[in-house]
Symmetry: C2
Subunit: 656 residues, 2 copies
């Protein structure tokens, strides 16, 4: 598609939003509706999306392409993963979705290589879908149900973000790379600093960043809570696509000269130093030199957080002729089949293996706790985007986030090491003119006549979704859980090999809910399920992290009616509403201290109150009144009134 440039002096984000705008006006804070061109699914969340498409009675997806990736559940410890592949492949055949099987790699870089098109929009049921912004796409992560709606041809509803212009100046010094750029932003602004913003990158510093470097930065915009991250489509983009035989998909895209940004920021790349996020939050960022010398147990290379050819090639160049320190596991996780093939061709893989590194299959792997869990309390340096507690698979973990350069230097020395101390010239990696073109290992959608006849291959582990009751007009519910700040979706619904194979069944995954926060929550909430439900009280940035809709859906199934928090992460807030749970914030944050575990929260005439304004009068039974805020649109209030999107779509289907 061609992006209109009729309005003068728009930034690139505004141009892309305008080109996809279906409804609403583009004033920050307003709800707008956007047409989605493409859709991305991964396996552990795609299962629910496919069940939702089935429940909606969808004939064929509208988003082109829609692609189902198998990249999370690759361990196959028992039949569940492989059974899921069969279910998803059958669902792809049924609904007209591309299928990328296990072994092809991580959805985000594979999508960039194979399907990403500058100027198009994409929604994915994975929070790091934002990475496609590296190609000049309007790329947004969302809950699975929102992706299902987009696949059904409905628009995606978002809060119109502010556009935050990040001007990159200068050139990165030796031993400093893209990961350090985004870690610098996290250092400056924290894990909720980008909320309701699009981070738009521009300026002369871009020239030194390859398309996959930009992916690294766009990927972790999610860790700042940003709605999207957008890069221009320029010569670098063209080169990236050309090296993959896809130059025809390129078009130039840039902000208009003279455009403005809602927020302005400058990063002088030449001033950056190697940075590292300490355990256990992506924004606990310090210079590597601050923690140099601490012992190292593991160095993990790969994930959508550093998926580029260069991210592996630079490590290979550093370990060439050297040996990984005794007792350190240097774990190499190829990001895509294409990257792996090209690393083999160019001699980089051989050096990695010879140095003592461990080579793993291409996929998300340890980034999402699917293998490679470190020993208790031992330091693991990872190039992944997240280090929330326990996400590695080890409950008492100690995970740092850093660049491949820092991870490799540390693996060689056996202690955390500033890569600038390496006794060698910095190996600047050139992007290859052509990547290895593998034979086509993607399965294209079936023609519609065949698709109609394809049954879904369901199992006990892909049961139909439960029916949700409408939100009642009078809530009188106990506070069952009070959490701290920055509760992540990992805290709510754990990932990892132990739990993820069950994500396709909300019944089977329910017992794991909130287990690291309060292991009694699942059982206590189950008891409230048929008795009017319960409330949760959260802190700031409640629901940060991944897009996993089961972090809303499963608590909702367990009786969650309302979450009252100081603030919410964007996707989780949407997910709560979509499944019929009420997200509220304190008007006076000091009230958070009044609403404690076991209190009874009462809200009368709820629907009237929601319709009348953004303030709700509530009562803490026995303690007095409480004012709460909601930011719900009329559309969202309707969803709550009927018990969520599924009921809403069911009703529409029945009336159609």
């Amino acid at each position: 598609m061609t992006v209109s440039s009729s309005s003068p002096s728009l930034n690139l984000s505004q141009k892309l939003l305008q080109a996809h705008l279906v409804q609403g006006d583009m004033t920050p804070g307003n709800e707008i509706a956007l047409r989605m061109d493409q859709a991305l699914l991964q396996d552990v969340l795609g299962t629910l999306v496919m069940l939702e498409l089935e429940a909606m009675g969808l004939e064929r997806v509208h988003t082109q392409p829609s692609v189902q990736y198998i990249d999370h559940g690759l361990v196959q410890a028992d039949n569940l993963n492989a059974d899921t592949y069969l279910f998803l492949k059958s669902a792809c055949e049924r609904f007209g979705v591309w299928y990328s099987g296990p072994g092809n790699g991580i959805s985000h870089p594979v999508h960039m290589e194979r399907f990403g098109v500058p100027g198009q929009s994409i929604v994915g049921c994975d929070s790091h879908t934002t990475a496609a912004g590296a190609l000049g796409m309007l790329a947004i992560g969302a809950g699975g149900i929102e992706v299902a709606m987009a696949m059904a041809g409905e628009p995606l509803y978002i809060t119109m973000p502010r556009v935050w212009g990040v001007r990159l100046e200068g050139e990165l010094p030796d031993w400093v790379s893209a990961k350090d750029v985004v870690l610098e932003l996290l250092r400056r602004h924290g894990v909720s600093g980008g909320k309701n913003c699009i981070l738009e990158y521009y300026g002369p510093g871009l020239a030194g960043l390859s398309a996959m470097d930009r992916h690294v930065i766009a990927n972790m915009g999610t860790e700042m809570g940003a709605t999207a991250s957008i890069f221009p489509s320029d010569e670098t983009t063209r080169t990236f696509l050309a090296a993959r035989g896809r130059e025809a998909d390129w078009q130039p895209l840039a902000a208009d000269v003279g455009c403005t940004y809602d927020v302005e920021e400058v990063i002088d790349l030449s001033t950056l130093v190697p940075l590292i996020a300490l355990p256990s939050s992506p924004d606990k960022v310090v210079p590597v030199s601050d923690v140099a010398g601490q012992p190292l147990h593991q160095a993990y290379i790969g994930s959508s957080g550093n998926p580029g050819y260069r991210d592996f090639a630079v490590v290979s160049s550093m370990v060439k002729g050297r040996t990984v320190a005794e007792g350190v596991s240097l774990d190499i996780n190829p990001s895509t089949r294409q990257v792996l093939s090209t690393l083999i061709r160019d001699g980089y893989l051989g050096e990695l293996v010879a140095s003592g590194a461990r080579l793993h299959q291409a996929g998300c792997n340890g980034c999402i706790g699917m293998g490679q869990a470190p020993a208790v309390g031992r330091n693991s340096l990872r190039t992944v985007p997240r280090n929330f507690p326990g996400r590695s698979g080890t409950r008492e973990d100690s995970v740092f986030l850093c660049s491949p350069e820092t991870a490799a230097a540390s693996a060689l020395n056996g202690v955390i090491t500033d890569p600038r101390s390496m006794p060698m010239a910095y190996p600047r990696i050139s992007e290859p003119d052509t990547m290895v073109m593998n034979r086509d290992v993607f399965t294209a959608p079936l023609p519609i006549e065949q698709a109609r006849l394809t049954p879904l291959q369901k199992t006990d582990n892909t049961p139909a979704l439960p029916t949700m009751a409408p939100l009642p007009d009078c809530l009188e519910i106990p506070v069952l859980l009070v959490t701290g700040d920055n509760i992540s979706t990992d805290d709510i619904m754990p990932a990892g090999q132990r739990v993820m194979p069950y994500w396709s069944s909300i019944y089977a995954s329910a017992p794991f809910t909130f287990e690291s926060v309060d292991s009694t929550y699942a059982q206590r909430s189950e008891e409230t399920r048929l008795l009017g439900g319960h409330a949760i009280v959260g802190g700031y940035n409640y629901g940060q992290g991944s897009s996993r809709e089961n972090a809303a859906l499963v608590p909702r199934y367990l009786g969650l009616q309302a979450v009252v928090a100081k603030s919410f992460a964007r996707i989780h807030w949407q997910n709560l509403v979509c499944f019929g749970a009420l997200p509220l914030t304190f008007i006076d944050e000091r009230d958070a201290e009044r609403l404690t575990l076991g209190d009874c929260l009462m809200i009368n005439h709820l629907h009237d109150q929601l319709a009348k304004g953004q303030t709700l009068q509530a009562e803490i039974v026995g303690k007095g009144m409480l004012e709460l805020h909601h930011g719900l649109t009329e559309r969202q209030r309707e969803l709550l009134r009927v018990g969520g999107v599924i009921n809403h779509l069911k009703a529409r289907q029945i009336s159609a």
Copy 2:
């Protein structure tokens, strides 16, 4: 060491046995004691061995080298695997053992590459330790406690086997390889056909079999129940060692001219066809052509069952320029770091990846149910040595065993395929003159002064072993379980990602005992534990399969006092005795029908009876008398009298 050839006309097995004989006379059926030169440990069974060394108060191991490999528990779904690595590495440092960390590959082929020496003896706590017979070693798998004893300088006790000469004639036809040779033996003789035998290979057909081809055959001698498999050390052996920079370790070894064998067999290699073992036993062997056309879900390449460079290179040559059939997972599991490095160097790995195969880390992986579990009921063709039900990780699996050629042809066609139908010339792979020499990624033993000061890094998952009571003089115990024939150690103590991380703790692994045979066994037996214990009644070949000592130790902990079976597999029989449980056989096999679930088995004056002869008078309470046989030596009766080897060694330590 130099093998004596003073006795005229000995076969090679007799020569190797004689050279290591410490005690006993070499008449088949007699117990003999053998000096062990080397010891091999893998991680999931090595943990118990290290705890046993600790219990024995060992200062430093006698076997040189002793090598601890990390190859089974590589998934690291949580902290347990990585914690185990730390424990094992500390134990290696403490006791003077080499440590081969995760990523170096599967113990058996790595040991051959790096440590195997023709003419030496080796015992390993892994049943496929026999594979080292490919180099002309006397290589025997045993329970961990027997390996611990050998490491402590004690001899290994075995029943003097008959020597079964297998004369290989002719040359293998195109598309037929080493796996088909050993499948032919399994077709002829079944999973217990080699019991109490050494399979000794000789003849002109040997010339066409590389050292790793011989490994394939020696490896699966274990599936015939053989004590060992022995190949001569010849020019092929010299070439193998030379390609790995170890020619100095070579010496020629062969049977004397004019020697004889207890059993004689001939295989004309030129008459063999591609063979396949059907689900779910290694001896259900038929020509591939009999099952050609059946749908395929997975093709698995790798394991100690086909670890050679050529086993991967031939697959690569077959898939070159082709694409794996849609929906089939072609899983490539490199066997060793050296093989992986050389496949990269020689261009084979690139072709595998380009064809759509999945590349996994080097290790045992799916062979032992650690990942790559297939979907329920879908056909998986594997080059691994075993296909016992559920061993893949999927309870209702459908696993076939075959050559790499058959697996690859099937993966390309999407149905089981006789590789002779491939539309290409057979790619005969030349062994490379030199393998890639990786930098030294093995950790050598510490000097004894340092070793003494190294503490074991224990965790909750490596608890001390329980104390076992002596076998009482009057047994009066209920039959708690009656099994069919060929019960494997996988049936007794399941493997796979779900269970194996707990093998280091007999308390944590106890609930899994016999779960696929009778899921109530563990709980019911726990109830008998403090009440005199219980008996199990088995069929033929009870305890076949792996050497895992916990298949004896854990039931013993749960109260097992006696197993009465029609026959036993060798290693498990030894393991039962070592942990103080009585293995007995029916003198009249028809009695097996009389001894049923819930019966009470009574044996009075047990120790007197054991000492007096090989027949025991027992009673099935209320049903009459029963004659049972035991084949125990005086040494073994002493072990039972004191409650097993650990008590025996403890007592010796106290008296010392």
